[in-house]
């Protein structure tokens, strides 16, 4: 197939905090080729058509999490999404900022609440008071169980797709619950008790309505809902789980069979 130039209409939500009362849409025309991504289109518009267009971006290969936006109603990263996959029948693609978060300017949103909920679950390792002399020994199965949770790039697509986040004040959110799950199931972590206390509440794992928007939105195909369900089950069997954890911590320096 030859690289013939086709054109698409890119409809972007704009908001200038110094001039506008509320957001409005502006349309641009972009010629695109087979491999052009949505981020390429935004760059093209900013470089050649409107230098005031503002958006976050960095790595352009789906690892930094900066460029999550709402395209045709769905959250995604714009750096690894070809534009041709989202042009509708009228030849148009609509780009808006992530929903449910306050807009700073154009496609840039205020992520304060997102980070506050993240810090709330203590997203770091809480080691046991007896730190081993040599390395921690963990089995392949234990590592695999955590693979998906570790791959999260904190892009915010899941958080801002969640209906519960949009309709409640203090729901912890799929991103933070996934991180909490990562630490609760980490054999090296000794803070299961305090973690389950924080997330096993009506603002945490019990608030999820299994709407599954988070899984649909995640650019890394992660599964926050499964993590939340696991946290729910563990919170119910908390004492047994804490016992099992304590036992595992005593064997963690021995070689794995």
């Amino acid at each position: 197939m030859s690289d013939t130039q086709k054109t698409a209409s890119v409809r972007i939500q704009r908001f200038n905090p110094e001039k506008d009362h509320k957001p409005h849409f502006q349309e641009f025309t972009v010629s695109y080729t087979r491999d052009m991504t949505l981020l390429d289109a935004l760059h093209e518009i900013k470089s050649h058509q409107d230098g005031t267009l503002t958006y976050r971006r960095s790595c352009r290969h789906a690892i930094c999490g900066s460029c999550a936006m709402n395209v045709n109603g769905i959250n995604m990263l714009v750096c690894n999404t070809p534009i041709k996959e989202h042009i509708n029948r009228k030849g148009m693609v609509t780009i808006k900022p992530l929903p449910y978060l306050p807009i700073i300017k154009d496609l840039v949103v205020d992520r304060t609440k997102f980070w506050e909920q993240y810090m709330r679950v203590k997203p770091w390792l809480i080691p046991s008071p007896e730190v081993p002399e040599k390395e921690y020994r963990i089995s392949t199965e234990e590592v695999e169980a955590l693979n998906k949770a570790e791959t999260c790039i904190m892009c915010g697509a899941c958080y801002s797709a969640c209906t519960v986040v949009g309709t409640s004040e203090n729901y912890i959110g799929p991103h933070a619950l996934l991180k909490s799950f990562l630490r609760v199931l980490d054999p090296r972590d000794a803070g299961a008790a305090e973690r389950l206390e924080e997330v096993g509440t009506h603002e945490g794992a019990y608030r999820c309505h299994t709407i599954f928007n988070c899984i649909d939105a995640c650019p890394k195909k992660l599964d926050p809902t499964k993590a939340i369900e696991t946290l729910r089950n563990l919170a119910q069997k908390r004492l047994a789980f804490e016992d099992a954890k304590k036992k595992r911590l005593t064997t963690i320096t021995k070689a794995v069979e």
């Binding site: 200038n16 905090p17 110094e18 900013k46 230098g51 005031t52 503002t54 700073i104 300017k105 840039v108």
Partner: protein, 89 residues
């Protein structure tokens, strides 16, 4: 051209470009001074690793004229437990 006083992308770009230039200079200065090859730092004039002279961290400070001034810091490893070996993989 981005106008306005909030989240001005031209200001951000100017700041980041300044950082890029400063640190490029630091990296090149450190690389020129290191007369060996080690890992990703490879020189055709010194293709081998020189553990006798070059197991140390390069530190860079900013002089009054804005140029980087280099100094060195020792590496904190237990050499008895983990002696340096030739990289054959």
């Amino acid at each position: 051209m981005d106008t306005g006083k909030q989240f001005n992308t031209d200001v951000l770009a100017a700041l980041e470009t300044e950082h890029l230039l400063t640190f490029s200079e630091v990296i090149v200065a450190g690389g020129l001074a290191r007369t060996e090859s080690r890992g990703a730092h490879y020189r055709t004039d010194y293709p081998k690793r020189d553990d006798e002279s070059w197991i140390k961290h390069t530190m860079a400070h900013k002089a009054e004229d804005g140029k980087p001034v280099l100094s060195y810091k020792s590496v904190n490893i237990d050499w008895e437990k983990y002696p340096p070996q030739e990289r054959k993989y």
